[in-house]
Symmetry: C2
Subunit: 673 residues, 2 copies
């Protein structure tokens, strides 16, 4: 019984922490949340069995706090054994082996796992779901109760959404332009240096130069995020500081040679732009800032705007307005609302359109509107066709993707727990990011020297940088155009490079390195996205499979013609296995491919890889939410929990009361669904 | 004050009707719904101002029925003037002129409009939103409370969804095959007859033959729907009878020459298949049927299955799994739920895939999977490219589409009210359908004789039927391949026919005829869909615009090369103006086009046509829901209504109580969003 006593002290500590943080918040004059207490008659809620035990009729369900307190006293003696009643978190968890037992998980996080996790919970602040209708609100509202004001407010919301779309597009285009230009200069310089040193036999010089560059730039990126952005603080996530850290940070991360994408920070930056425009104010630092209007400064409106901003960000990144809208609805908003969807879609459309125009202008053909997003898979030379006999191959690839994705989640879970335990000082975080960047460069160098893969085939793209290394004149190293490239460029190269560009052996080694690098990179204290690394890793082994299929079935000419589709299927499998998002991811990938007819195999692959992955672990996002201790409520109430009593879970009354509210909400969500 | 007194008699009449119908339902041993009564503390609901007037503190909000009854007595004397407080139904209605004043609408429906509308309301039955957790339910549930049962139930749901997808696909392929084969025989016969009579100068003979065929087949179609399908009865919508009426009816409707599509009935049939599989039982007629299992026979599960079935139906019809899923979520399900979405998407995927396979087999190339759906726009010869300078043209077309869509809604509204008032007998409905089919044939004949449009250009498609009429040998009449075709074939011809196929004058006349025919056809007592007619009408005038653009800007060769895109934009404008659905429609059209790069202009056009249309009227679906008196709750609570008191709207207590529940629910929806 030692463990349980330790647990209760933990719990009381937590209570203290909660009090402290509440006190802090109060000092900062932030609105203190009211706890709503709902008492229900004639309607079975999930918690009612607690009442049933002591009151036979439902009508006598206690409706005031004194009765509940009395309850609490009655219950104090008898806390039964929980081992049989505590069950699973979700139906996928029910089927999974990794997170099979909630008891084990409770122990894992509650006793064995780092203690600060509990403190983390109190750092998160959620938005109010409903307008707080009090007397002041009603009085204030009554001033603006006219058709004209309603119409004006409605138009303002659309105008703000227009502004969000335009600003997000501007940001996306700026990030894209800066990254592309500087990265090209960096890699061109390194390539020339390598070519020079291949002659002079001084290859250690450019690699030190490369590692040094990566170290400095990545440390800057990490400092920006670690010291400027107060990640844990609720409202800090939507501050101007955070915006600078995210937008500037992602440029530096990619230039620093980290293996990451810019779509995650783009979604976040879009959300910050939306919150800023919605609130009508920018706060540079404490107390100082510009305030323009305050009509939409309530959580309800800001939440809607942020959903729109996130959608605009994703749309700008992928040129996928529908996918962006769905991503925002699936991951950011909890409920499907036609009016909101429509406005979010408008923001996403504006953002995509403006990004397209700006990027077109950047490349010198603005009116053609042919550059729809930052990340595109580019058009495949041949139309992507497929035959029924290829479907089994796709299915196998999907299974592989699901397995690799699950192991990605497990590895990253271990790493995250390690980081939470040992890498807690800010300067340690910066150092870790720098180390990863240096190791990335070093591994690239080792592969380019150690693997024998010389080719004379011109790679995809006009401005691709290659290095000769130890190859004959006129040739270049097959991996050089993958490493001396941004992660996006690497992905495109894997999809579109001709058959002869990379040897199978070098691709295999490359895949392994890429996989572990992306595991290590995800979760660093930098501004980064996980889409592109996942896609690129998948494309690497998918390309390998494609080469195998072409070699084994040389008769099927239409297969060898567009074997890049195997890279695409691999990319979809891997990202499906890692993230497990459903509809939105499908739409984004199909929109990126630009070819609907190939949508069917992509959907099949995403579906199967999700299933296989879910059988083993939860998704990457869900795992992180759990490990970070963010109190988020799942869509579905867990199965078999509807007779779990509050006192089984929390021996302390106050916490039991909190659970009561929680379960109420789950039921509420359940009813809604 | 005459009107108000009349209104109150109307209301009391309504009450009587409600009572009667409730009694009826009770006699038929249908489940009688319990009215839930929720009493709320510390939480501001919309109705609280009622309390505020009499109790200053919110804590004293009445929580038992006696207090409310006391209230009611207090309030009886004072019912204030409602003219200022009753406001608008939605923000789009706020901006609209047609349905601007809710007072006028109340009058329109309440006093001037047909009185049977009120009776209609009581005919609709909605599904329970929540599982009814009573003692019996809990006892029964406890038998199946184990991991094994939960897992088994979960797997069963997926298996049922698989079955839904496969059966829907089978149905879709069967309908497609039968319609295509028989329609081709019919039109080939008519075409030969016309060609024969063009020589012998006996053109009146084939047209009588045509009208006769249409009359007989359409009357059969209408009899099937009118007499077999009990449209108004709630559960009848998901019966086996209804399935036969819908699936058989749509085949006959199209063969009967009505200008309609098969996607609406496909969605409905999919829903019926889903309900049947979910319930595990088929009822052929009263009391007789086959019952297999009953594990999912509750409203909650059936609702989810029906959403999946509707998605599968739409997906099979358009080959658009994502669009189908979104359509189902947007129009059928009220809340966004990841787990449900995922299952619905699976059903849609299976359905699309199986339809693709079956249709491929029908055309003799099953493994290529190149026939993704019943309705496809087919691949455009040239890639659909567009330039920024074309956007203004698209915008103008979108505005035109919005205006035409709004007038479509107004015309159909007038027609629907006329039908509700005068065409109420079943045989009258059958006669009307027959008349429309005959007039369709007659108008086609008049146009083919009266309009001078001879051409020798080979139309799109290998099996297209043309008629020579009065043209020279070797030529055919330009409109003949549009009229001697299924509505889908007509749409494809408008999108893909070469430039010289149709003269501008004939297209203009054709558009007008098509527009009014589709207005007249929508709402007939037959099994039909409105997507295809809307698209075809839009494609007709869009093609006209395209021809104008090509003539006016002969220098832009890339415009004339693919001027079919103007037909596509016209089609999107028209359907956007008619239906006003948002995301799902966009995705469906983009998926049908098969070309993502042209998605951006399609989205712009759909957005603008929706706005323009919403400025004038509500959408076609919403108008019909309103006119049919279906008690549906909008997504957003109306603006400016949060201080409307129940007694303003309903002087009678019982009805006021109903409104209380209603407003509670609106608030509930509002909180959720």
């Amino acid at each position: 019984m030692e463990s349980s006593s330790e647990e209760s002290t933990e719990l009381s500590k937590k209570q203290d922490n909660t009090k402290d943080s509440n006190g802090d918040v109060g000092n900062k004059k932030t609105k203190v949340k009211q706890v709503h207490y709902v008492c229900v008659k004639d309607r079975q809620f999930t918690v009612t069995p607690v009442a049933e035990t002591y009151h036979d009729a439902h009508d006598e369900l206690p409706c005031d706090e004194t009765t509940i307190l009395q309850f609490e006293n009655e219950l104090k003696g008898q806390v039964p054994d929980t081992s049989d009643t505590l069950t699973h978190n979700s139906i996928t968890a029910l089927l999974s082996s990794k997170f099979r037992d909630i008891q084990r998980r409770l122990k894992q996080y509650g006793i064995e796992a780092p203690k600060f996790r509990k403190r983390l919970v109190s750092k998160w602040e959620s938005l109010n779901y409903d307008i707080c209708e009090n007397v002041l609100y009603i009085k204030n509202r009554d001033q603006y109760r006219s058709k004209r004001w309603v119409t004006f407010g409605w138009l303002s919301k659309w105008m703000i959404m227009l502004g969000i779309g335009l600003l997000t597009a501007l940001l996306a285009a700026a990030i894209h332009g800066i990254v592309e230009e500087i990265a090209h200069i960096k890699f061109k310089y390194l390539s020339d240096y390598f070519d020079q040193c291949a002659k002079d036999d001084c290859l250690y010089l450019p690699v030190f130069m490369w590692m040094g560059m990566n170290l400095v730039i990545t440390c800057l990126a990490s400092i920006l995020v670690t010291f400027l952005q107060q990640k844990a603080a609720g409202s800090g996530l939507l501050s101007f500081k955070c915006f600078v850290a995210k937008s500037g940070g992602v440029v530096l991360s990619i230039l620093g040679g980290l293996f990451c994408g810019k779509e995650g920070p783009m979604a976040h930056s879009g959300g910050i732009i939306a919150a800023g425009l919605g609130k009508g104010r920018i706060r540079f630092c404490k107390g100082k800032g510009i305030s323009l209007y305050d009509g939409f400064r309530n959580d309800h409106e800001i939440r809607d705007f942020v959903a729109g901003g996130a959608a605009a960000g994703v749309s700008a990144a992928f040129g996928a307005p529908v996918g962006g809208t769905l991503f925002s609805l699936e991951e950011a908003a909890s409920f499907w609302n036609q009016d909101l969807t429509w406005r979010v879609f408008f923001g996403a459309m504006v953002s995509t359109f403006a990004t397209n125009f700006l990027l077109g202008a950047f490349h010198g053909h603005a009116t053609e509107l042919s550059a729809p997003g930052l990340v595109r898979f580019n058009v495949f030379d041949n139309d992507l066709k497929f035959d029924l006999i290829e479907i089994p191959v796709f299915v196998v690839m999907a299974v592989v993707g699901g397995l690799l994705g699950a192991s990605f989640v497990v590895l990253n879970y271990k790493l995250t727990v390690f980081r939470q335990r040992f890498i807690r000082k800010k300067w340690l975080k910066v150092i870790e990011a720098g180390v990863v960047a240096m190791v990335s460069a070093l591994l690239a160098f080792i592969l380019m020297v150690g693997v024998d893969d010389c080719t004379a085939t011109k790679p995809f793209g006009n401005t691709t940088v290659t290095a000769r290394m130890h190859c004959k004149p006129g040739q270049h190293h097959g991996l050089s155009n993958l490493f001396l490239n941004t992660p996006e460029g690497c992905l495109k190269a894997l999809l579109h490079d001709p058959y002869e560009s990379h040897s199978a052996a070098s691709l295999a080694v490359f895949t392994v390195v890429l996989y572990f690098l992306s595991v290590w990179t995800y979760g660093l204290s930098v501004s980064s996205g996980v889409f592109i690394p996942s896609l690129a890793t998948g494309a690497a082994w998918g390309r390998l499979v494609g080469m195998g299929v072409v070699d084994m079935l040389p008769g099927l000419t239409h297969l060898s013609g567009d074997f890049g589709k195997y890279a695409l299927i691999g990319a979809a499998s891997q990202i499906g296995g890692n993230l497990r998002t459903t509809i939105s991811l499908t739409v984004i990938i199909v929109e990126c491919t630009g070819d609907i007819s190939f949508g069917l195999p992509i959907m099949i692959v995403l579906m199967i890889s999700k299933w296989v992955g879910d059988f083993i672990t939860t998704g990457l996002y869900d795992m992180n939410i759990e490990v970070m201790g963010i109190p988020i409520i799942p869509f579905e109430a867990p199965p078999l929990v509807d007779d779990i009593r509050a006192r089984f879970v929390f021996p302390d009354f106050q916490l039991r009361f909190v659970l009561f509210i929680f379960v109420e909400f789950v039921t509420f969500v359940q009813i809604s669904s």
